[in-house]
Amino acid sequence: MASLDVNPAAISLQADLRRRRFTKMGLIWLAVLLFIGWCVSGTIIADTDWSRIGGRSGVLASIGRYLTLDIGLFPELIIPTLETFMMACVGTVLGCFFSLPVAWLGAANVTPSKTILYPIGRFLMVLSRSVHEIVWALIFVSAVGLGALPGILAIAMRSVGFISKITAEAIENIDAKPVEAIRAVGGNQFQVMYYGILPQIYPVVLATVIFEWDINIRRSAVMGLVGAGGLGLLFFRQMNSFNYGGVSMVILAILLLIVLGEVISHYLRKAVI
């Protein structure tokens, strides 16, 4: 029965550890809550004009305006919805083209120069992700003018970061044996890439691109807010003419488009993997 004997020292040690962990978690939570309290007092309490909102009835009245749908807007929705969808598709494909060289520069094992070009590739990935799509769209509207083109370019630039980062990681994790084998039988640089690297990274990259396409539909729906066509432009116009029922219709169209995109991407990803 010796094995059932419990060591009192071990029990007290465990209780001690548990107490210490408990205190530590408590301190972390206290710090977080104090910080949140500071944020609330700094932003919401100091910055909000409660009288202007008009109390609960005011808020309910403003929400109520959105609840009557403007069904008459339906025929005007079809073309912007198509535009939004196409902008997302073209933007994603263009983003793939842009991410190819970036991924090539930013993958440690295939980069042409590790000292100069590798950091540049990494920097481009971070740059693309850290600038919000609205900011990209603003820059491109000032560079190429209004229309669908700045939206497409903004979506492409914003997608580069994620796609090229995942692609570069996939390239870094490949099995080197096929590459060596192709080189050993005399394959040139292009053949090494096409037959050695591409088949290994292809499923990962395609799944990433489909995922990004799904997100890009969401992004292309707001490009119109800064002058780049699609559903965002219609949303902006309805909002500016205070046609709240029309705003709700546009939002429903966006929801429908996104659910559709999610379903398509679900099946595509299943087909790829």
Partner: protein, 279 residues
């Protein structure tokens, strides 16, 4: 063996090797053709000028060096702008905290394996999907129209964004847990809340903390632009200077956004690795 002898041995028009066999290669070609045709039609439908598209990146470089250089760095070191950065930071914290708190129950409802009731499942799913589907800028505009300009609208919009973002990741995490403890507690007669608290939470605690930190990182990126539509913070300065065509100041603001996002990303990466180490 000479070269001629080798070539003589091979059949003159034998099978040449190709990566894909006949039906598969046809399907692949067909898919590619459809995609290319669709893209071409899209470019036509959207009235995109191909020459402009090809020259766009060159034009971007030209425009940036012409109009946006040198950035007016003094403007972003001004006291008012630094206060706006602090506001943005506070907004992102509040939004992600509230969003993560609300996302946990929604994720619990929308996880197929531990959902408390059949009716709760679609409620949770629909809540998360509709928060995710609508872009944060649209949420901002809607909240501004209901709550007026200011940071309350920005925080609410970020909260919705974070519910959508964190809710999906949380639900995925819950669906991947080990079902052993859950079944053990259910067979001992625990109610769904007890199952969630004592069988699910201990398994996903560390992952949830990491996701919450990541959510803050992403929410900060979104918080830099909610001000553009009236939500307060850095975005409001961006909007004002864009409308006044103060391009040098816009360039400085964009640079400051990039710098802040980089700091946030570094911080969140550090915190996430610290959480993983302390597990």
């Amino acid at each position: 063996m000479t070269e001629q002898a080798i070539t003589a041995k091979l059949p003159s028009n034998g099978p040449t090797w190709s990566r894909y066999r006949y039906p598969e290669s046809l399907y692949r070609f067909g898919t590619l053709l459809v995609v290319v045709l669709f893209l071409g039609y899209s470019l036509h439908f959207l009235n995109v000028d191909i020459a402009k598209l090809i020259g766009a990146l060159g034009r971007l470089v030209g425009v940036v060096s012409d109009r946006y250089y040198p950035p007016d760095l003094e403007y972003v070191l001004d006291r008012g702008y630094l206060a706006a950065i602090l506001d943005t930071l506070q907004m992102s914290f509040l939004g992600s905290f509230a969003g993560v708190c609300l996302a946990v129950p929604l994720a619990w409802f929308s996880a197929g394996n531990v959902t408390p009731h059949r009716v709760m499942f679609p409620v949770g799913r629909l809540g998360v999907i509709s928060c995710r589907a609508i872009h944060e800028t649209i949420w901002t505009i809607l909240f501004v129209s209901v709550l007026g300009f200011g940071m309350l609208a920005g925080v609410s919009a970020l909260t919705m964004f974070c519910i959508g973002f964190a809710g999906k990741l949380f639900a995925d995490e819950i669906e991947a847990i080990d079902m052993g403890p859950v079944e053990a507690m259910q067979s001992a007669g625990a109610n769904p809340l007890q199952v969630f608290l004592f069988a699910v939470v201990p398994q996903v605690r560390v992952a949830f903390t990491g996701i919450a930190i990541y959510t803050w990182d992403v929410a900060f990126r979104a918080a830099t632009v909610v001000g553009f539509f009236g939500g307060g913070g850095m975005g409001w300065y961006l909007k004002r200077n864009v409308q006044q065509l103060e391009n040098l100041r816009v360039a400085a603001i964009i640079l400051s956004i990039i710098a802040m996002v980089l700091i946030a990303e570094f911080l969140s990466g550090y915190l996430r690795s610290a959480v993983n180490r302390a597990k």
